[in-house]
Symmetry: C2
Subunit: 453 residues, 2 copies
């Protein structure tokens, strides 16, 4: 007899984990919808022609490919076999599993561009698959949770992303965090201003390590990458800058005065803050981080990244503005801005900070228990009344010792147990025990409904 | 430039479809949870050793297999290639996509049997994949929606399945339907009673076609399968039986008097109805169909199947009791009962009967529009107030002609539009247009919140 197992890097989500994941995801969904985002779903399988070449060579290696059905090797020759896997691949597989939600979304927009109403605000919460080496916190199947608005460059979208992040965190009782924000145009401006135009790529890669390796090592790396001493001298005061928001903006206005693009970036940032203020919102949790550089090749405007303080985990949310989501599928000029929540990381943070509510809103509130057949029959009548009142209620389905029924409630974390014995049958009520406090009360059905609901 | 496309047999779900699917699935989820079922999820990928051999030879052919990562052909020899796909398969693939939710659930129960609290009530709503030939209403990726309780033979579970089906249908405003119910033991009893013990398999396969081909043809088929003339004569009155529930049960008591198993089946059915009565419930929509035969090899007790009348579509829900869910994974004696909803079919039925609510509970209620920059700034302040009141609200993100903003609301099906012009700014209110009736009113923000919420 085989002992069943799970594929490496995959997980089951049991009832407790699912209730907690649902709690997080419902909070996020609810927020997206409050801001007018609409949910879509795309298939798990995409044509390999849609997926390959979109994630770099390494990404192509990490795609899960699906074997063609039927006689899949019919077109494979011994020569193909000798040439190796790459030669065989396109003869045995034409589909792969979704690697992220961005490429399928771009494909969806292009295929439905005549039916969609732009600006189009969509969110999407689905698993993705990557053939990565599994390790702690890294899985081969995991959920992504993306929201994007495409077909507009209005900065109100950036302001709304900040508000959505703050709403989700408030609802989840997470209050010690920063929303780091920057603008790609500022980074472009900086490289112009220090005389290294067009080199924001290597600049950002190096500067990204500032926290970890320090300025001296970053300088070494930049020198290796061809940055002149004069450029680095110009850069130094910016790296050393410690100031509040107004100070940073004032400094940058001066620092970037020769770069039109750079100044535009500063202006976009200020306008976003101005929109927040017009909405009656403050700048709480917002951290303008001039050195924040994220997925540079892709973003063209605002960049976001959210870190929870005092928890050793990477960013739990991030995103930014882009100018060319769908160009690779032949539709250019689709500008948009998007962000995503890292559900697995949020889960870990919530668990570490013990922020999950003790009782899930999706689980049973009340177990009806009984001593004998007459109690069972009596409980059946009550069961229906509690459920009609909207209370998640169960009855133990087989006659069993009362202790076993209580154990069941305990193990399943059911907060109330209703006892149906001779007294209760006579009086037409039910004795309700609060499993947390141990308190037990004899109640009418209506009183019991009020107590447990 | 490549023109993107979808793999055959797969679908995108756009905003409208998703809102409607969510409406159906939320109703089902809510009902499962009211009855104490807990959600779990299992990975899309399972080891092929878990999947193969569970669905028959045809099922094995329909499994989507996943190519091993890296140099996947390294163990394939030219000899393997000559021998054909079957020889190559186990060297290039060790994982496949989930084919249903039952086998992964059985695997889950076995792997977690020491942690689970039995009776264990779980539901699971996830896509499954089958390499079937796509056709109208048949997809290669589709959702299944299963609920099972395992570790109990209490008939209250059967009664609750009937109640769950009725609740879902009531909430979806579907009222013209039958829940066909039968019991596998009755079918076993019938084959015993007509002197063809152990032949309920072919008996049911033939009788299943009664509606389509008629009794004469069914008799021919049964004769071919070795049923004697005498047996068929004994069977005839049962096939011809037209009676109400009490009449059917009376007839069967007599007909099955020599079959202990058969009488047990009748008793289980009666007890289930008795439990419904003790719950204060009637037998509405229940149709005891002695000829109902469904997935016989698997079920051992009650069998269910739900048909919507006057809609040309197969059953939209079905299930039954089984005795040996997990035997194939080495854990015997796990009895349970389960059922599932066919989400795609329910969707089609709802669409055909025009039962989807005009307005989705997940979509935007109000679009704020404006004429100029000052209106935009004013609208930004209102936006936040409406959202804080829990109203799904949007603002058009770029300055545009008011007509374009109204078109946007129309296309997106937003039921209310708030206009922010000079008058509204002066008075501190907003003019709200009901897009359905065309009526427009000048309101304070609080009045507007009451109107659109």
């Amino acid at each position: 007899m085989q002992k069943p197992s799970l594929p490496k890097g995959t997980r089951d989500f049991g009832p407790l984990q699912m209730a907690r994941r649902t709690y997080i995801l419902d909070t996020i969904k609810d927020t997206f919808q409050l801001f007018g985002y609409q949910q879509i779903e795309t298939p798990a399988m995409e044509n390999l022609s849609t997926l390959t070449g979109k994630y770099g060579d390494e990404g192509d290696q990490l795609l899960f490919k699906i074997l063609n059905s039927g006689d899949f090797i019919k077109d494979v020759s011994t020569l193909d076999l000798e040439k190796g896997s790459a030669s065989v691949l396109n003869k045995v597989s034409e589909k792969g599993l979704r690697y992220d939600l961005t490429v399928p979304f771009a494909r969806y927009v292009v295929m439905n561009r005549n039916e969609l109403t732009f600006p189009f605000k969509r969110f999407q919460i689905q698993p993705v698959w990557r053939a990565d080496r599994p390790q702690k916190g890294r899985y081969r199947e995991f959920y992504q949770c993306d929201a994007d608005v495409v077909g507009t460059d209005g900065l109100v979208c950036e302001a709304e992303i900040i508000l959505m992040i703050r709403r989700v965190f408030e609802k989840l009782s997470l209050d010690d965090y920063s929303i780091k924000i920057n603008n790609r145009k500022i980074l472009t401006g900086i490289s112009e201003a220090i005389g290294e135009e067009g080199k924001e790529g290597p600049l950002c890669v190096a500067i990204d390590k500032l926290d970890k390796i320090g300025w001296e090592k970053v300088k070494e790396e930049l020198t290796l990458r061809g940055f002149g001493e004069e450029s680095l001298d110009k850069l130094a005061p910016l790296v050393a800058l410690e100031s509040d928001l107004t100070g940073k903006i004032g400094f940058l206005r001066q620092f970037l005065k020769t770069s039109e693009t750079g100044l535009k970036g500063v202006e976009e940032l200020e306008q976003t803050f101005e929109i927040l203020s017009q909405m009656g919102e403050n700048l709480d949790h917002i951290d303008f981080d001039i050195m924040l550089a994220r997925g540079l090749s892709y973003y063209t405007g605002a960049i976001f990244e959210v870190k929870v303080h005092h928890v050793a985990i990477g960013s739990v949310s991030g995103g930014g503005r882009y100018d060319n989501l769908t160009g690779v599928f032949g539709l250019s000029g689709v500008s948009g801005v998007g962000f995503s929540f890292g559900v697995d990381r949020l889960y870990d943070v919530m668990e570490e900070l013990d922020l999950f509510p003790a009782e899930s809103h999706t689980s049973t509130r009340l177990l009806l228990t009984y001593f004998d057949q007459s109690g069972f029959q009596y409980a059946l009548g009550l069961l229906n009344q509690f459920r009609k009142a909207g209370i998640k209620t169960e009855i133990y389905p087989n006659q069993a010792k009362i202790q076993k029924q209580f154990d069941f409630a305990n193990k399943k974390g059911i907060p109330f147990v209703g006892v149906c014995g001779g007294d209760e049958i006579l009086s037409g009520g039910v004795s309700v025990k609060n499993m947390g406090s141990g308190e037990q009360q004899k109640l009418s059905v209506n009183e019991a409904i009020k107590l447990v609901c």
